[in-house]
Symmetry: C2
């Protein structure tokens, strides 16, 4: 097989994307928008969701099982579409495989370091992501003169999953969480959990126009595109007419996943399969 044919085959391999549940669909959605030729295998660990309140050890063990599952599909790259798993497990995952991996934290951190003018960056995320201080670490590597303020917002995920995307209760909770970030005059806010872009308009209204919201989902899809281009792995072949380029797997009920997923992804999730992730 010539090098050219081999590269073309590898380029046509799917991208693996995983998350603790449905939140990572905001990342999958950006990939679908920005590089529409790509096949995607998505795994959502809905039987063990959420990760954001759990420990490094547990999150890493779960993420390794998911890596082994995704390897079955000969994926050309893996996107860790979960901030908490990116924060805690990415290094250990990279040590286990040659498949290029991309987390959502680094791209978000990079953009925030670039756009801040006053050097005050806020990060909102799950308890686990904030505890990890991962955003601080990455941003400081790029620019050691900025100050990063982390704030855990554990109620945002349940509020989003309850559908209260535009609601006085979400406003009230957001105001409580964000007040201290407003008070210390941040000019950039990283939405450090994949659920948060779904309440972006609420967050933007409370923070005001002077604060730039950074959505790592968007930045990750951009960086993924660049990475695939550099490696000659960008898929130039659009999906065949009628072929479904997106496969969804979950660890709990597929029906429930589909209902929520279809509220996030407009491409129409026709099917999702349940697998037992503990076997991996």
């Amino acid at each position: 097989m010539s090098q050219e044919v081999s590269n073309k085959l590898r380029a046509e391999a799917p991208i693996g994307v995983f998350d603790s549940g449905v939140g990572g669909l905001t990342v999958a959605r950006e990939i679908m928008r920005q590089i529409p030729n790509e096949r995607i295998v998505y795994f959502g660990d809905t039987a063990r969701v959420p990760y954001g309140s759990k420990s490094r050890e547990t999150i890493t063990r779960y993420s390794k099982q998911i890596l082994r599952f995704l390897q079955k599909f000969q994926v050309k790259t893996i996107v860790v579409a979960c901030n908490t798993a990116s924060a805690y497990a990415l290094d250990e995952l990279e040590a286990e495989t040659d498949i290029p991996m991309l987390g959502v934290v680094k791209p978000g951190a990079k953009t925030a370091a670039e756009v801040t003018k006053n050097g005050r960056i806020g990060v909102i995320a799950t308890d686990a992501t904030i505890d990890s201080q991962i955003y601080t670490k990455y941003i400081k590597e790029l620019n050691k003169d900025v100050t990063i303020y982390g704030k855990a917002c554990p109620l945002f995920v349940p509020l989003v999953e309850e559908g209260l995307w535009q609601d006085p209760v979400t406003d009230e909770i957001a105001r409580r969480y964000l007040t201290e970030l407003i008070d210390i005059d941040i000019d950039t806010l990283i939405l450090g959990c994949t659920h948060y872009p779904l309440i972006r308009s609420t967050l933007g209204r409370i923070m005001g126009d002077a604060v730039t919201l950074v959505n790592p989902a968007y930045e990750t899809a951009q960086e993924l595109k660049e990475m695939l281009e550099q490696r000659g792995l960008l898929n130039r072949t659009p999906p065949a007419l009628g072929a479904n380029p997106y496969q969804f797997y979950v660890s709990d009920s597929a029906e429930k996943f589909k209902r929520f997923a279809n509220s996030i992804i407009k491409y129409g999730i026709l099917s999702a399969k349940t697998i037992n992730i503990e076997e991996y």
Copy 2:
């Protein structure tokens, strides 16, 4: 060994209590209060919490792993201190073991069937427990002339875990969930999730004095005491001075569990151990 000695030994065996996480501590707390001589082995599945949004298959698989873990301790009985696991997994657990099992649903259903005067009973619980219709089934077996109204309240658990036990946001959410139960004039409300007793005062205020709140944790401890008495398994020997009669195991970080647990249980949880439940 004489029958008497053998019974005494069995009576001194611990009671197994399990839950998806910390909520079942409200049940353990009632057992500690009502039958203080008993040893308890508590398991909280904190690595896979919550169960209330997950499917029957997943909840049953998890519960069976926990049963196998608790069997190691030669427990004399097992209390399924989680409404969702009681709803979905109890029958299958009972089929796997001779150890007498007690869920929290039946005792709560029995009390509600007894105390209602107008025959209109409300049940608030997780999505999974409501979907299972288990309270309706048990109550109808006892009294087919009552009407049961189920209402899923998925935000209560995160609000309780965020510590908002007395808070305007919890009031607002509770009002939204409970309005329809008030409108249909129930006189009895079952707190069908082990977290809910922690916001009992909020729920009571909103429902008003005319509505009786049924706390299955309390009823379960009572029924457990009766069951142990009938079988001659009640422990007559108080714990030795200085001995710790309560052992706590969790599937995620023990530190985090201890922090929350000590806000629920005043007996002081000195230690908790993390185990890998997926190995069972």
